[in-house]
Amino acid sequence: MITATESPPEITHRLRLIVAGSTIRSRRAIENLRRVCKEHLGGHSDLEIIDIYQQPQFAKEYQVIAAPTLVKLLPLPVRRIVGDLSEEDRLLRALDLAMLPAAGGA
């Protein structure tokens, strides 16, 4: 609601998607996340995709156990969303976007 009135693209969602290699599951998670970001967040997201095969130190830093894991750093509280993000309802709820489809989806 507030985001809509702000003119400069303020970052509301800081997200890190952690994947392990370029598996089908990784690609599916990336696709799902990109779509949601585009549809629901516009330019208000800071998304970074990390492949822990390339940068294993981030696995510990972001407290990753499962792969893929989407770490939501902002808005607080921090949440870890595991899986290939194929269940969009749950993903939206986890990203605190659950109310938006009802308001803006019309």
Partner: protein, 562 residues
């Protein structure tokens, strides 16, 4: 026993935990995961961390500790009390700590996933220090964070396979579940080695125990073994040494009491033997034990005094009153006191502690005062004492055990049960008679030595315990005042007899004198008679001569007239 053909024995990685490696006949299986399970507070984490710390400090093997419960900082703080410097090891690149946070409330699941993140983290940590040892503490926490147990199980199975492939020796800890070794049946996946920890509270005393449930491809100790966690870390108490074949010594050591040594015929007790000193309260068990220690220290030997009823200071003060100065030996480092309340630990805990202390101090004489302080089921007490005696004998330590008997009777259950363990048994008693109490001792048995059959009275003097020459007479064996009065009585009688004889001798002499005097008087009288007789004779002769002279004179006168 599985009918498997004998394959090459698995190589083993020592844990460095005293006693544990002995039970495992070397250590945990190298490049295999081992499951350590038990209820909360059993010491699983401590076992695991000790395995890593010893690996890093003693066996040159770096390790990774992956904690699913405690944060790395908490872990480091918790084990600092045991002298483990985790931070130092981390800095030295010998240890990597990773705390894996599993928080159900922070985790959302959408779609398919695997645990590759965990694999990468573990792999990264292993590579960062070149680890050979890994601990996953407690990996089952994952089940609380993720709902898809099918995935978890598959991933755990994969993880354990991965550990083997990477050649990592791993400890996986698991919380005891109902009817299962672990809550989620991890034992299904880890079949190489499973160790079960347990802590039981009996009579408000907790005893920790450990059992190797299985060890694939290796023999192992199968009993339940008690173990101890204290400031010195973990000590596991291995079994009663299986055999009773031990090196024996023919050397004799003095008891420190000359009279007692004499009673034992060959001048004392065999080195490495065990001696039971039993007696009722106040018979000087501790004092005799102190004598024994004093004698050993005088020979320059190291002694340990395990006391369960008095403190070290109290004992030093008390025995000083009978002229034994233990403090100087303690100060000289020859004597070490270990005082503890019997109720502080369970029996096995005491034993474990004792074993550790003995191994550390290396004494040649150990006195335990008293063993009767250990309470519990007779069978358990007996088993503990058996192990205690065994423990000392196996390393050739001479052990003196005191035992308080509650009754003065000759036979007592505990003593009886103990007797078979002991090489020598000295019994202290007190005899109540004539309104006093006297202490006596006798040697019930002394293996490998003839010994006196006498019941001997002893006294506590300013210079220690002193055995008194026994009074044996027509009245039997007497002690104390009875002995003294009897001796006095006999002496009086002797004196009386002596006086009597003297008197009679003198009377006889007097009579002799009298007789001699009489003889002298009679002789004198006789002499007088003789004189008288002679005088009479002379008088008679003179008379006769006078008559004849008169007659001649008359004749002459007549003749003249004619």
């Amino acid at each position: 026993m599985p009918p498997e053909p004998a394959t090459t024995a698995p190589s083993k990685s020592a844990t460095g935990i005293a006693g544990f490696d002995e039970i495992l006949l070397g250590g945990l299986p190298t490049a295999r995961p081992t499951l350590i399970c038990g209820a909360a507070g059993c010491g699983k984490t401590l076992f695991a961390i000790t395995f890593l710390v010893n690996g890093a400090t003693r066996f040159g093997e770096s390790g990774v500790f992956m904690s699913f419960e405690e944060r790395a900082e908490d872990l480091a703080a918790n084990v600092a009390s045991l002298g483990y410097d985790l931070d130092g090891l981390v800095e030295a690149g010998k240890l990597a700590l990773d705390h894996v946070r599993v928080e159900r409330s922070e985790i959302e699941e959408t779609g398919q996933y695997d645990l590759e993140g965990l694999f990468v983290r573990l792999g990264y940590a292993v590579d960062s220090v070149g680890a050979k040892r890994v601990v996953l503490d407690t990996i089952e926490s994952l089940f609380s964070g993720f709902s898809d147990t099918a995935v978890l199980r598959a991933e755990l199975r994969r993880l354990f396979t991965w550990i083997k492939e990477r050649g990592l020796t791993a400890i996986i800890t698991g919380e005891r579940g109902e009817g299962l070794l672990t809550r989620h049946g991890l034992e299904e996946y880890i079949s190489d080695c499973v160790v079960l920890l347990d802590n039981r509270v009996i009579d408000q005393i907790m005893t920790r125990r450990l059992r190797v449930v299985k060890y694939r491809g290796s023999a192992h100790g199968t009993n339940e073994y008690p173990f101890l966690i204290d400031a010195a870390g973990i000590s596991v108490l291995p079994v009663t040494s299986s055999g009773i074949d031990r090196p024996v010594s023919n050397e004799i050591v003095s008891t420190g009491i000359a009279g007692l040594d004499a009673m034992l015929r060959n001048g004392g007790l065999y080195r490495g033997s065990s001696i039971l000193l039993s007696g009722v309260a106040g018979t000087g068990k501790t004092t005799i034990g102190s004598h024994f220690i004093d004698a050993a220290c005088r020979r320059g030997e190291r002694c340990m005094f395990f006391v369960f009823e008095e403190g070290a200071e109290e004992i030093c003060r008390n025995v000083l009153s009978v002229g034994i100065d233990l403090r100087r030996w303690a100060d000289a480092g020859l004597l070490r006191f270990e005082a503890a309340r019997p109720s502080l630990y369970g029996l096995e805990m005491h034993l474990a502690r004792m074993q550790r202390d003995v191994a550390e101090f290396q004494p040649s004489v150990v006195v335990v005062d008293p063993i009767s302080a250990f309470r519990g089921p007779i069978a358990e007490v007996h088993a503990t004492l058996l192990r205690m005696v065994d423990l000392l004998k196996s390393v050739g330590i001479t052990g003196l055990f005191t035992s308080l008997r509650t009754t003065g009777s000759l036979h007592d259950g505990t003593d009886q049960a103990l007797s078979s363990l002991m090489d020598s048994w000295i019994k202290l008693m007190d005899i109540e008679a004539n309104g006093e109490r006297n202490r006596v001792l006798y040697v019930i048995k002394s293996r490998g030595s003839s010994h006196s059959n006498q019941v001997r009275e002893y006294r506590m003097t300013d210079s220690g315990i002193e055995l008194i020459e026994p009074y044996i007479g027509p009245e039997g064996v007497l002690t104390g005042t009875a002995r003294i009065t009897q001796e006095a009585r006999e002496q009086a009688a002797a004196e009386r007899r002596q006086r009597d004889i003297e008197q009679r001798r003198r009377a006889s002499e007097r009579r002799q004198d009298a007789l001699e005097r009489q003889i002298a008087e009679l002789s004198a009288a006789l002499e007088a008679e003789h004189d008288e007789a002679r005088a009479l004779q002379l008088a008679d002769a003179a008379h006769d001569a006078g008559l004849s002279r008169d007659r001649s004179a008359i004749a002459a006168r007549r003749g003249g007239a004619e």
